[in-house]
């Protein structure tokens, strides 16, 4: 528990000294990605002296889409390698959205590449567009590594189909996830035909080296951050379930014990992906935020029983072993740039806000928490929050539906009335998508600049 700072200028100065906002590396990363894409296009440009006719143009388009797809494929995998710079600085939510977006785009490029190249080859062989299937079968049979590539492409299509919105919502999360893991196999299978039949890599040793380097680096990062780093983390800290506590109807806290848990480098506002080694739960891991700052022997998560998995948490026996990966998430004190902070929580979104409310440095009156729930009974962790507020001299507000079920009015006007200097605050927000969107708009209208509204959303 942080010590409470008395009010006054000296305390304020001390607080500000501890605030060192770190910029998200998103912009330089995106620039690097574009530079790489330009290099890939240049490779094609350099290796193609001329294009004589339409067949050449079709093949050219096929090669460009293929090169770009091969390049983006590596990045799509990299985005899910759980690299700390991405997970903790850019933000897991944003990286996941990049992954979804670039994954869809890459799959479209793959399909275009297959179609264009086969069409081009068919024309070269004097066949019509109707013979495309025959042409594809011939090419797969004759060219090196094309059999593997065909299997890989088939996998990509299956993975893409299971990720389309309506399909994904109907599939159990675990099924979708395990199908998605096939991506690694698909990338491996499609890699070799790029090297052996790809025009640019077959003739240009430097390009081949670059490609091996790109895929090698991504493989190394995936192996390290997705496999070895979690193994090390769990061997070191050996976590287990200490107790399960029902906070309010439908919301439970899980206390997790282990060795030297304060040395995991977790900060308030971050989350881990948890896997509970209990029957029926060991094959899926789920992201849950820490609902209290880590202590030497204890971590706590607070979860709303909405899904299959979270409902089962209630029955966890003390002593159950826990496998965790993390910490991830960028919704931490690092984002802060101002002395004053408003935390906005909707429902179970209180968990990271509760941890931040406890640990964000600040003088009395600097920190405000606004907690939205359906009824006062649903205000999980309220007693703790009240205790923290009293100890720190922080402000705690809640907004619940009226007894008639009417929603509270969180508008720009109301916000300004309650917090007159709201436009000089940093705002941290966590809650369901609809709630977050409407609060975001109200905050913007109340004069809070977008760069000071910090929000994590796992909506795709």
């Amino acid at each position: 528990m942080t010590t409470t700072l008395a009010g006054g200028r000296a305390a304020r100065r001390q607080t500000m000294r501890r605030i060192r906002p770190r910029r998200s590396p998103a912009v330089p990363l995106l620039l690097a990605v574009w530079a790489g894409a330009a290099a890939v296009l240049w490779l094609w440009w350099h290796d193609t002296p001329s294009i004589a006719d339409d067949t050449g143009r079709i093949l050219g388009a096929g090669r460009i889409t293929g090169l770009l797809a091969g390049y983006l494929m590596a990045l799509v995998v990299l985005q899910m390698a759980r690299v700390p710079a991405l997970e903790r600085r850019v933000g897991s939510d944003r990286v996941a959205r990049w992954h979804a977006m670039s994954g869809r785009y890459t799959l479209c490029l793959v399909v275009a590449h297959v179609f264009l190249v086969m069409w081009g080859y068919a024309r070269q062989a004097g066949r019509s567009l109707g013979d495309l299937v025959q042409q594809t079968a011939d090419s797969v049979g004759q060219l090196p590594d094309m059999g593997k590539a065909a299997v890989g492409t088939g996998l990509f299509v299956v993975i893409g189909l299971t990720s389309i919105g309506p399909v994904r919502r109907r599939l159990p999360y675990d099924t979708w996830y395990h199908v998605h893991l096939l991506t690694y196999a698909a990338v491996f299978l499609t890699f070799w035909h790029q090297i052996t039949t790809g025009n640019d890599f077959a003739v240009e040793p430097a390009a081949r080296t670059f490609w091996y380097g790109l895929y090698g680096a991504v493989t190394a990062l995936v192996v390290w951050y997705r496999v070895l780093a979690p193994i090390r983390l769990n061997l070191r800290h050996r976590m287990y379930v200490e107790a399960v506590i029902e906070e309010t109807p439908g919301i439970v806290s899980v206390l997790i014990g282990g060795r030297r848990l304060h040395r995991m480098g977790a900060e308030a506002g971050q989350f881990f992906r948890w896997r509970f080694l209990a029957p029926g739960m060991r094959f899926s891991s789920h992201p849950y935020s820490l609902s209290a700052a880590p202590r030497p022997g204890m971590l706590r998560i607070t979860v709303k029983a909405i899904g299959d998995h979270s409902a089962r948490l209630r029955e966890l026996a003390p002593g159950t072993k826990v496998w965790a990966e993390g910490p991830y998430g960028a919704l931490t004190a690092q984002r802060r740039s101002r002395g004053k902070v408003l935390l906005v929580a909707g429902g179970v979104g209180i968990t990271p806000m509760r941890a931040l409310f406890e640990t964000l440095p600040g003088a009395a009156g600097d920190i405000t928490l606004l907690y939205r729930a359906n009824t006062t009974r649903d205000l999980a962790l309220w007693d703790e929050l009240a205790a923290i507020a009293e100890e720190r001299g922080a402000r705690l507000m809640y907004a619940v539906n009226s007894p008639e079920g009417e929603r509270p009015d969180i508008s720009a006007e109301n916000l300004r009335r309650k917090i007159p200097d709201i436009d000089r605050h940093d705002v941290f927000m966590c809650g369901p998508p609809g709630f977050a969107q409407s609060v975001y708009e109200a905050l913007r209208e109340a004069g809070v600049p977008a760069r000071r509204i910090h929000h994590e959303s796992f909506e795709m």
């Binding site: 294009i51 004097g126 959303s457």
Partner: protein, 257 residues
């Protein structure tokens, strides 16, 4: 947390990708500038070289001394063609009548070609070292040199007298269309035997260039050795081999009839 517009994003991404690809394709010239400039230097040879990757362009068959010109060999940076001056069956002078030009290639050509010429005269064979930094040109030079040397060896039989020449005739088979492009075989028949086989047409472009380079010389050898169209296919180049066999058969039919 800006509002996302999925449809707008899809339309934008598609439009940007398609227009980018179309722009790149349309900026490419219709013919290779390097090859075009080489064609200016030796129009006939290059034209022939382009339509028949395995060398249809042949210099005048020399006697014991004279000049022999090798095939124009296309490299990534332009065509390379070697001319040898032969005296008493030995190479007395080697020169490149075509070599890559333009951009960096000028420098490389200036650097590499004199060395390669010296090496060729010294070695008397095509087994010469590549000049570092000019690997492609060296490779093309070696190939062209080899074809010139082949011609030197054939020269005695080709010019061994009017009676021999009368009996030697060339027959070109019909062009057989394969999946990757047409294949057409020309054979030289002397005294009823195939003394030389070559492909005047073979698949080009993309992977086919490599496959053609790999397969056609083997098929040529096989044809000469077998004397019939009953030759083995080169693995990895099944279509080209099949086309070659058919064209060879038609040439043999013509030669026989």
């Amino acid at each position: 947390m800006r509002k996302s517009h999925p449809v707008r994003r899809v339309v934008l991404a598609t439009a940007a990708t398609v227009s980018g690809v179309v722009l790149l394709l349309s900026l490419k010239p219709a013919s290779d500038p390097a090859a075009a400039s080489a064609a200016g230097a030796a129009p006939q040879a290059t034209a022939a070289g382009q339509e028949s990757p395995q060398g249809g362009s042949r210099g005048a068959a020399p006697a014991g001394s004279g000049t022999v010109t090798g095939d124009a060999v296309r490299t990534r940076y332009g065509a390379v063609q070697v001319r040898l001056t032969v005296g008493n069956g030995r190479i007395t002078k080697a020169e490149a009548v075509q070599a890559p030009t333009g951009g960096l290639s000028d420098q490389k050509t200036q650097l590499a070609v004199p060395k390669l010429n010296q090496e060729a005269v010294a070695a008397g064979t095509a087994d010469i070292d590549a000049v570092s930094g000019a690997t492609y040109t060296s490779e093309g030079y070696r190939k062209s040199l080899q074809s010139a040397l082949d011609r030197m060896e054939q020269a005695p039989s080709g010019a061994s007298g009017s009676s021999g020449a009368a009996r030697a005739r060339t027959v070109t088979g019909k062009a057989v269309r394969t999946q990757y492009g047409p294949v057409q075989v020309r054979i030289t028949v002397t005294d009823g035997r195939i003394t030389r086989a070559e492909a005047v047409q073979a698949p080009t472009g993309g992977l086919s260039d490599r496959k053609t380079q790999l397969a056609v010389p083997k098929l040529n050898q096989e044809a000469v050795a077998a004397g019939t169209a009953d030759i083995d296919a080169v693995s990895g180049a099944t279509y080209t081999s099949t086309g070659y066999r058919q064209s060879l058969q038609s040439a043999l039919d013509q030669a026989g009839g």
